[in-house]
Structure formats: structure tokens, C-alpha cells
Amino acid sequence: MNNKAGHLRSAPIIERLTRPLAPQNLLSQQSIMDIRVLQPSDIPHVQHANITNLPENYFMKYYLYHALSWPQLSYVAVDVSRPKKSPYDYPRIVGYVLAKMEEDPPDGVQHGHITSLSVMRTHRRLGIAEKLMRQSQRAMVETFGAQYVSLHVRVSNNAALRLYRDTLGFKNEKVEAKYYADGEDAYSMKLDLGFIREQILDEQDESEEVDEGEPVGELGAQKDKASALNGQKDAAQGGKKMKVRVGRGLGVGDLVEKNESHKA
């Protein structure tokens, strides 16, 4: 588009509350591995993490589609400890979960879906993937009333399977033959989110009593012992062949507008 200076107006500088920390604010921070909600401004680095780690890739508009449809569901792990190279340094994303709600679910049950999850090789064994997943799962229930969450994983990806099955409690639904573009099969997995609903109800009860209640504890703290899960090597998983094409060839435009073709 033509950027005529006259038409560009810089947005008023406002104080950011829950929304993104402007990069300038991050300059003074030394925090290493924040886990927080994904912001649109994170997307280039999320896209970078994805194409660095996984074979299933998407163009930016597909990330925007997630971030603007279900902004509560996608999370990032952020490394802002690197020395700043310029005043415009953006936080580096070392892990992310890209999640959505299934639109028009075939079974008629509201549920979430994990489009993509990965953690940079250099930042594994910190349990980042698990932490990202738990934040996303909770938001699926709270904000969108999800009953369960589904995902696909390569049958050969033992590390990811350990995370989903042993740590998070996903169950194998079925094998989808030749699900991935390179011909590999996928496990289709599901996790019933009823336990989060109950947890939320418990919390509500507690907060309605006189405020003495012990804090509820880290999400899924019952799994604390399972340090073995920390060894996941690559929590890799991506979209279905069909979906990849949506992300690649067609783009959100076709999900959005009848007539507005879009170039990817």
C-alpha cells in the first residue's frame, strides 16, 4: 500500500495495560523466560521459531487469523535477556503454542485445537511446552467454554507423545494415515478439559468463602513429580494436510470474505 506520510498518523502513546509491552519498555527488563499471551507484534518471531523448528509452516496471515480470532489462546515463551542491538529490538520468541477453537465442530461440541507448538532446541528441558499448553487449555475453558482440546502429532515423535500423553493426559483417539505432507501418520489425540472446569468451580467456592483459602497451586501441580516429562525433545506438531493448504495457499481471506482474493 502507499504510505503517504499525510495519511499516516502515529497511534497515540498510551499506557499499555494487559496488552503488549512496547519494545521500548522491554529494554529495561532482564527477565529471561516469560510465559505470556501472544501479541500481534510477536508474530514475526513466532513465525521464525516455527520455520526454524518444524516442517509445517504458515504465512503471517494465518498467525494473525489465530491472534485476532482467539487472542486468549495462543501463548509465547519470550527471551528478552539478549543484549539489545538497537532501540527497536523485539523480544525473541523461544517457544510458542498456536491454538484455536474449532469452528463449526463436526461433533457439535465446543473444543479447542492446537495448531502448532514448538520450543527452540536451545531452550528445552525447562518444561516450557507444558507450561504453554496449560495456560492455553485454561483459557479455552474460561473464555470459550471448550469441553476438550484436540491435536495431531507425528507417530514417530516420542518426545511430544510423552508430553501430551504422560504429562498432560491426552488420550489417543485414532491414527490418521498419511496425515503429514511427507507421508507420515498422525495420532489424533484428545484431552477432556473437565478437570479445569472443576478446578475453576473450586476456586470460585474458595474465593466466596472468607479469603483464607490456600492458593490453588500451580496448574496441574499434581504432575510436579513427573520430571521425566521435561525431557521432551521436540513438541512438534502441525496442521493437517488440508489445513496446511488453508494456511498456505488460500489464506484467511477465503475464510473471511467471499470475494476478496488474497495473495500469499
Binding site: 500500500m1 502507499n2 506520510a5 495519511h7 502515529s10 497515540p12 495495560l17 494487559t18 503488549p20 527488563q29 532482564q30 527477565s31 529471561i32 523466560m33 516469560d34 510465559i35 505470556r36 499471551v37 501479541q39 500481534p40 514475526p44 526454524t52 518444524l54 516442517p55 509452516n57 504465512f59 503471517m60 496471515k61 494473525l64 485476532l68 486468549q72 527471551d79 535477556s81 542491538k85 538497537s86 532501540p87 527497536y88 529490538d89 523485539y90 532446541r121 536451545t122 531452550h123 528445552r124 528441558r125 525447562l126 495456560q135 483459557a139 474460561e142 473464555t143 514417530s156 505432507a181 497451586g217 500451580e218 521425566a228 525433545k233 521436540d234 484467511v252 481471506g253 473471511v256 488474497h262
Partner: protein
């Protein structure tokens, strides 16, 4: 007068419209021609025909025909609307807006035209125009909530917060019954309204609104975060403390929450004990938490630091967490911590603690404990603040001995070689690392990156091809373009630039430029989509991010590279273009030979006209007759969005001074000087600017000359340039980079001093802080002078950096 159609032709015209909508273009053209046979000057039909032709890819003919249509029927809104759609299709949104406005004047009731206009206005950030459009859309359909929200957004983006809030309130007042708790659109509208209240600074009102209207809001996290923020702002410390504790319980890996908690607990920053207690509480509560264990290392010192760091390191090395060093290196700004950390790791090794590792080992995993400690030390000695590459290599070999299959360890070994300046060896080792795990794309990516750093472009794309989609027409490179793989295009371009292949370099940089165009265009669909989805806050965030899209560091190196390469001098450019042409011809011949071999299958899609690149080597780009115009294309957004980047200003100066745009060059120079007055480039550019002025000032328009004289105050009065330069040299005699810059300037100022300047460049290598990067600059400087001490310099540098390929005697 416009022609009038018969009833039959009118229905035929409807067919044309329908055919267009159904994308039956051939049928549509046929039907249109049928009408035009009798009514050759029927504007609407001509316009529809043009629109269909445009969809068929005949843009120029479509424009020509659309103009004819307008001549036939200036008062037809269809003709104007089509004209606008054509402009929109070629992305000239300003012309499109003008055309839509004409159309709308002729047909004020058309919702379609109004909508198309509004979308372009917001895309162009014409907020005033957008407000007018949204008001009119609201008037015609005030029963739809979206239309109210949209008007509020329009006011909001235009900075009219009170109006925005008012519009939302007005709508709320029309509601007879409160929406249900699970009404998502309402839930988000409440949060949007709350953000508007807070943005106006009325935190009490925002808090009240949050606790009433937002009580059962679906976005729980936002509620909790905002409450904590408002309570803090309002000084309600006790409640704020609870609010932050609730947030940490929800997500204990977010520093912002701990900072907030510590702030409202009003703990004295010097009271480390009390501070640490806050973190300890959570570390104890959450055995797998990292933040609460690591964050105290930021403020602790002395023995407290040692003790806490020891525990932290112990735990991480036991687990074999590969990012242990990365998690701690930000502490290296303190020299005490820089020394304490490796000594703790040494202790960990020598005390034998590593053997008593309690962490369970899976499948003989030895990457924990001792090897992990060696790995830490290797990274420590490879890091620029604590660099001793020989030691680094020693430790990484120890780690590899324990764990010969570790990809991570080999990756670090490759990095060490990179730091030695040996890109060849680095690439070789990274390739070894890659071979240890063929199925991991991360290591594959690294291997390709190191190949590019070593100028192995062909090998790199082959490496990448192991993970790109096999079906993509055009091979791995096309897939990487499709998937907007900015890092690869940047590295590939930089590699070609190093090799003097300007055409290919420019081509890669141009493709990144185009990706950013696509990213900017991507927002278009969301102007309507987000209103329907009701996710307004995320939409506003997106708009604000898009507004400064090109300040992103993915753009900046590209901008400076592109500007610099667009800037190569003409003879180099021609040479490069010629070379590129020859290579292209050779490739063509080879391709032809291949095609003629009947047994060899040619790749499908070779004949696809859309995918065919008519300038695969960038020869056309490199041969451009307007290199400066191309450079400007990169530069303008760079200066607009990253004005505080000194590299951007320096690149800007280079382009402007070559174009003899002295005012603009001066503006960049002044901006750079304001950012860092003593910067080596600022110094040399200041001198070059003065020299250029001495030559050209008389030829400039008097007004320009006057402004330059009054603004160019970087040089002290009544001091000669030579003196100025000498002062700089003596002031910065301990800084290799600045000394080099001063020596470069000396040569410019007085060529006769050449021998002494040359010899002094060699002496730069003796300055304590000289880095390999500066030495390479020195080498290049001497190369550009084409004589003198080049060989002496090379030898001295080779002795200092024996492993660096760049200083090795040319074979």
C-alpha cells in the same frame, strides 16, 4: 446521454453481474459483448466488462476500457465503483478512495460502495474519513452492534477516547435486557470499553466498571491483570498484593507479576532478604518453577548471590538444561557475577557433585551432570564478555567426549569456530551436528545458516530443501519465499553481497521488502473480519503494530543492506550485471541441454508462467539505471520507522550524499550525531560532508546553502579539518574502531600523508580493544587504498587470529 437498455438487455446485464460474481469470466464477457453489439456506448456494461477483464489478468486493457466507460456515462455509480475497484486491485488506494467517493455521491444509498470506501479509509489510516463513513453506516443500520463498535474504534484510533466510550455507552443504553454471560461479543465489548476508560486515565472508574460490568467476564486473565494494575495505580496496596498473588498462582513464569507484587508490597529495594523471601515462597511452592529461583540472582550480590546461584546452577546442571548459560549470561554485566558463575560450575565439577546427580537418566543420557557443566564453561569462554576461545574449545571437547552424539554440544563447537573467524570450519562442524539428528529442523536450520555464512549458497538451499515442502513448484527457494522465511533471505542476500554478487543480493533484499508489503496488506481483511468476530482489543493492537511494522528488526538489516547495495557505484554495478547476465546465459544453456535429454524428467511447473522468474539472478535489478531510486525504496521506511537506529541514519547519509541531497544528508548526520556523537562513522561522515560542501556549496541554491551553514555545527569554528581529525585520533587512541576511522579520514584529507596513514593502520592491531571485526574493516580499508601496508597488516592480523580464514594468505 447514457444509452438505455431494453428489458431483455437489462436482464442480460444482470447475467453479466452474476457471471462476474460466480467467476464465470468467459460467459460474462460474451454476455457483455452481446449487449454492446447494439449499445456500444453503454457505460455500465463497458465497466462490468472491464472489471471481468481485470479478473482475467488484463489489467491495462481493463483500465483503458473503464475510462471509456466513464466517458460514456460520467454519472453512473457503477462506472465509478468499477474504476475504484481497478485502482484497489493495483493497490493504489488513494485513487480508489477518490473513485469510490464519486460513486457514493451518485448513489448515496449503496451499502456496498460505502463499505468498500470505509475499508480503504481505515487501511489508509484516513481516520476522519473513516469516522464519516462509519457514522453513515451506523445511521442506515443501527440495530447491528458491530456498527456501533466500529464507530467507537474509528473515534478511538483518531484519539477521541471520550467519543469512543460514549458511542459504546449509547448502544448499551438501547439494550432492554442484559446480554447473557456467555455472549462473547458483549463480553469483549465490555473489556474494550474498560480499556477506553483506563486509557483516559480514570483508574477508579475503570476499576468500578471492571468490578461491576466485568464481574463475570469471559476473559479472566485480562480481568485479573487489569485489576492488579488499577489497584496499584490507586495505591490500594493490600488488595493489589492479593491481585498479584492470584496472577502468580495462575502463571508463575512471568516477571511482570513478581515485579508488580514487590512494588505493591513496598519492600525496600536494598532489603535483599525481604525481597528474596518473596521469591523463595514461590520457589518452594512450585518445585518446577524457574522464574522464582532465577530472578533473585538479578538483585543479590556477594555471598548471598553465590549461595543462590550455586543452588540454581546445581539444579540446572543436574537436569542438563541446555539453556542454563543463556539463562544467566545477562548477569555478566556485573564483573563479580561474571567471575562467580564459572567458578561455581568448576566447583560443581571438582566436588564430584555431578556424579551424585539425583536426576533420573533416561536411556544412558549423559548430557546431564559433568558434561552439562563442561558445556556451560564452553559457552562461558565463547561469550564475548568472557572470551577465551582456546579454553572454550577445550571444554566443549570434554563435553563431547562424554556425550559424542550430542547435537547441542556440536552446535556450540561450531559457534566457537565461528567466533575464531573460521567460517569454513564452523560450517563443517555444524554439518556434523546436523548429521547427528536428521529429523530435527532446528539443527538443519543452523547448518544452512552456517553454510551461508561460509558463502555456500548452493549447499545451504539443498540443506533447507530437506525440510521444505516437496510439492512446492519452484523448489525449496520458492517454498521459503512462500513461507516468508525472512532469516534465510537475509542471510542469503548478505552472503551474495559479500561475494560481490550484487544482483542476487538485491533480489533477496527486495523479496524481504515485498514480504513486508504483504504483511502490511494482510491486515486488510481483518478490518471487517475482526468486527464480525468481536475481538476488538486484539484488532486495535494489530492496527498499532502494523503502523510501525517496518521498525521490526527483520526489516532493518534488510533496509540498510538494500540501501547500501542499491548504492554500489555504477561501474561495480555494471560489472556485476554483466557477470550475472553471463551466468544466466550459461544456466539457460544448461537448462536447455537438460530439457533435450528425453529421459530426464523436467520438474513439473517449469512451464507455469506465474512461477517463472524473469530475473532469477537479479541481473535486471543490478543493472538498474536508477540505483539511487532503488536505494530510496529501502531507505525511506527505514528512516521513517527506525529514526533512532544509528545504522539507519548512517545508511541514509551515504545514499543522500551520493545523490548530492545535502540537506537530507545533513539531517541524517545530525540525527546520528545526536545518537552517538563519538561514533566512528559519524566522525568520518562529518569530515566527508565538509569536504563535499567545500566543493559544492557555491552550486547550491542560496537558501539551501544558508540553512546548511546555520545547521551544520558539528565542526568547531576556526579549527582546520586536519586539526579536528587529529584531535579525534588522540582522544580515541585507545579505541581501535575510532582510530581506524580517523586514519581513513586522514587519507581523505591529505593524500600525501598516505604512507604514514597506511603504517598507522597496521598499528591499530596493537590497540588493546581491537576486535576481529575492526581488523577486517582495516583490511578492507587497506584493500581499497590498493597499496601500502596491506601484506604487513594481513600478516600481523593472521598472527593475532591464526584461525580466522579472512586473514589467511590467499592460496
Amino acid at each position: 446521454m447514457p444509452q438505455v437498455l431494453s428489458a431483455k438487455e437489462r436482464s442480460l446485464f444482470q447475467t453479466v453481474v452474476r457471471n462476474y460474481e460466480d467467476k464465470q469470466y468467459k460467459k460474462g464477457i460474451k454476455a457483455a459483448d452481446q449487449i454492446l453489439k447494439k449499445n456500444a456506448k453503454h457505460g455500465d456494461t463497458l465497466a462490468m466488462k472491464a472489471l471481468i477483464m481485470n479478473s482475467q489478468g488484463k489489467t491495462e486493457e481493463a483500465f483503458a476500457l473503464a475510462k471509456v466507460a466513464l466517458q460514456c456515462d460520467m454519472k453512473s455509480h457503477v462506472c465509478w465503483h468499477v474504476y475504484g475497484l481497478l485502482w484497489r486491485a493495483v493497490k493504489n488506494f488513494e485513487e480508489a478512495i477518490k473513485a469510490y467517493k464519486f460513486a457514493l455521491r451518485l448513489e448515496p444509498e449503496s451499502a456496498q460502495i460505502q463499505r468498500d470506501l470505509a475499508l480503504l479509509q481505515i487501511q489508509m489510516r484516513d481516520y476522519q474519513g473513516y469516522i464519516v463513513s462509519r457514522k453513515s453506516m451506523l445511521q442506515s443500520r443501527s440495530h447491528i452492534r458491530q456498527n456501533w463498535t466500529a464507530l467507537a474504534v474509528a473515534h478511538h484510533l483518531n484519539g477521541e477516547l471520550t467519543e469512543a466510550e460514549g458511542v459504546l455507552t449509547t448502544y448499551e443504553e438501547t439494550l432492554k435486557n442484559p446480554p447473557s454471560k456467555t455472549d462473547f461479543e458483549n463480553s469483549e465489548a465490555v473489556m474494550y470499553k474498560n480499556s477506553l476508560i483506563a486509557e483516559q486515565g480514570d483508574y477508579q472508574k475503570a476499576l468500578d466498571h471492571l468490578e461491576s460490568a466485568g464481574k463475570h467476564n469471559l476473559d479472566r486473565l485480562a480481568i485479573l491483570e487489569l485489576r492488579a494494575t488499577y489497584l496499584t495505580k490507586l495505591g490500594k496496596k493490600e488488595e493489589a498484593t492479593k491481585a498479584y498473588r492470584a496472577l502468580i498462582e495462575r502463571n508463575s513464569e512471568y516477571k511482570k507479576y513478581y515485579d508488580g507484587l514487590v512494588e505493591v508490597m513496598a519492600i525496600d529495594a536494598a532489603d535483599h532478604k525481604a525481597l528474596k523471601a518473596v521469591y523463595d515462597e514461590y520457589a518452594e511452592k512450585y518445585p518446577r518453577n524457574d522464574a522464582a529461583r532465577r530472578l533473585p540472582l538479578d538483585f543479590l550480590d556477594g555471598d548471598d548471590f553465590r549461595e543462590t546461584a550455586d543452588k540454581y546452577i546445581h539444579r540446572m546442571l543436574d537436569k542438563g538444561v541446555p539453556s542454563t548459560f543463556a539463562n544467566l549470561k545477562h548477569l555478566y554485566s556485573s564483573s563479580f557475577k561474571r567471575e562467580a558463575l564459572p567458578s561455581l560450575v568448576q566447583q560443581y565439577i571438582s566436588s564430584g557433585k555431578s556424579e551424585a546427580n539425583e536426576e533420573p537418566k533416561r536411556n544412558g543420557d549423559t548430557s546431564k551432570g559433568a558434561s552439562s557443566a563442561y558445556y556451560f564453561l564452553a559457552q562461558h569462554y565463547s561469550y564475548y564478555l568472557s572470551r577465551d576461545l582456546d579454553k572454550a574449545l577445550e571444554y566443549i571437547e570434554k563435553a563431547i567426549d562424554l556425550e559424542p552424539q550430542s547435537v547441542d554440544f556440536h552446535m556450540t563447537k561450531a559457534r566457537i569456530w565461528k567466533h575464531y573467524g573460521n567460517s569454513h570450519k564452523a560450517s563443517e562442524i555444524m554439518e556434523q551436528a546436523r548429521a547427528l539428528d536428521n529429523r530435527d529442523r532446528h539443527i538443519n536450520t543452523k547448518a544452512a545458516k552456517y553454510q551461508l555464512r561460509n558463502n555456500e549458497n548452493e549447499a545451504a538451499i539443498k540443506t533447507m530443501g530437506m525440510f521444505t515442502r516437496a510439492e512446492t513448484v519452484g523448489g525449496p527457494l520458492a517454498d521459503l519465499h512462500d513461507m516468508q522465511c525472512v532469516w534465510f533471505l537475509t542471510e542469503d542476500g548478505q552472503s551474495y553481497a559479500r561475494q560481490g554478487k550484487v544482483g542476487l543480493a538485491l533480489k533477496r533484499f527486495m523479496s524481504i521488502y515485498n514480504i513486508f508489503d504483504v504483511w502490511q496488506e494482510d491486515q486488510f481483511d481483518f478490518h471487517s473480519f475482526s468486527l464480525r468476530k468481536g475481538q476488538i482489543r486484539a484488532y486495535v493492537d494489530m492496527i498499532r503494530w502494523e503502523d510501525k511494522l517496518r521498525e521490526h528488526p527483520f526489516y532493518t538489516p534488510n533496509g540498510t543492506n538494500g540501501a547500501a547495495d542499491g548504492d554500489e557505484d555504477a561501474s561495480e554495478r555494471k560489472k556485476a550485471a554483466k557477470k550475472a547476465r553471463k551466468e544466466a546465459q550459461k544456466a539457460e544453456r544448461e537448462a536447455l541441454a537438460k530439457k533435450n535429454e528425453p529421459n530426464k524428467a523436467t520438474k513439473e511447473g517449469d512451464n507455469d508462467p506465474k512461477k517463472k522468474d524473469d530475473d532469477p539472478d537479479g541481473a535486471k535489478l543490478a543493472a538498474t539505471t536508477e540505483p539511487m531510486t532503488d536505494a530510496m525504496k529501502f531507505l525511506t521506511p527505514l528512516l521513517q520507522f527506525s529514526p533512532n537506529s544509528i545504522d539507519a541514519q548512517i545508511a541514509g547519509f551515504e545514499v543522500y550524499i551520493r545523490r548530492k541531497k545535502y540537506l537530507l544528508a545533513l539531517r541524517c548526520l545530525l540525527a546520528a550525531s545526536a545518537l552517538d556523537k563519538e561514533h566512528s562513522k559519524v566522525h568520518s561522515q562529518t569530515i566527508r560532508f565538509k569536504l563535499a560542501l567545500d566543493k559544492d556549496l557555491a552550486t547550491l541554491p542560496p537558501k539551501v546553502a544558508e540553512i546548511i551553514k546555520s545547521e551544520f555545527t558539528l565542526l568547531p569554528e576556526s579549527v582546520s579539518l586536519t586539526q579536528f581529525n587529529n584531535d579525534y585520533l588522540s582522544k580515541h587512541k585507545d579505541c581501535a574502531r575510532r582510530t581506524l576511522s580517523g586514519l581513513g579520514a586522514r587519507k581523505l584529507l591529505d593524500h600525501d600523508l598516505a604512507p604514514s596513514a597506511d603504517a598507522d593502520v597496521v598499528k591499530v592491531l596493537k590497540i588493546d580493544d581491537v576486535s576481529m571485526e575492526v581488523a577486517i574493516e582495516g583490511l578492507e580499508l587497506l584493500q581499497s587504498w590498493k597499496n601500502g601496508e596491506l601484506e604487513a597488516f594481513r600478516k600481523a592480523a593472521a598472527a593475532k587470529w591464526p584461525n580466522a580464514t579472512v586473514f589467511a594468505a590467499s592460496s
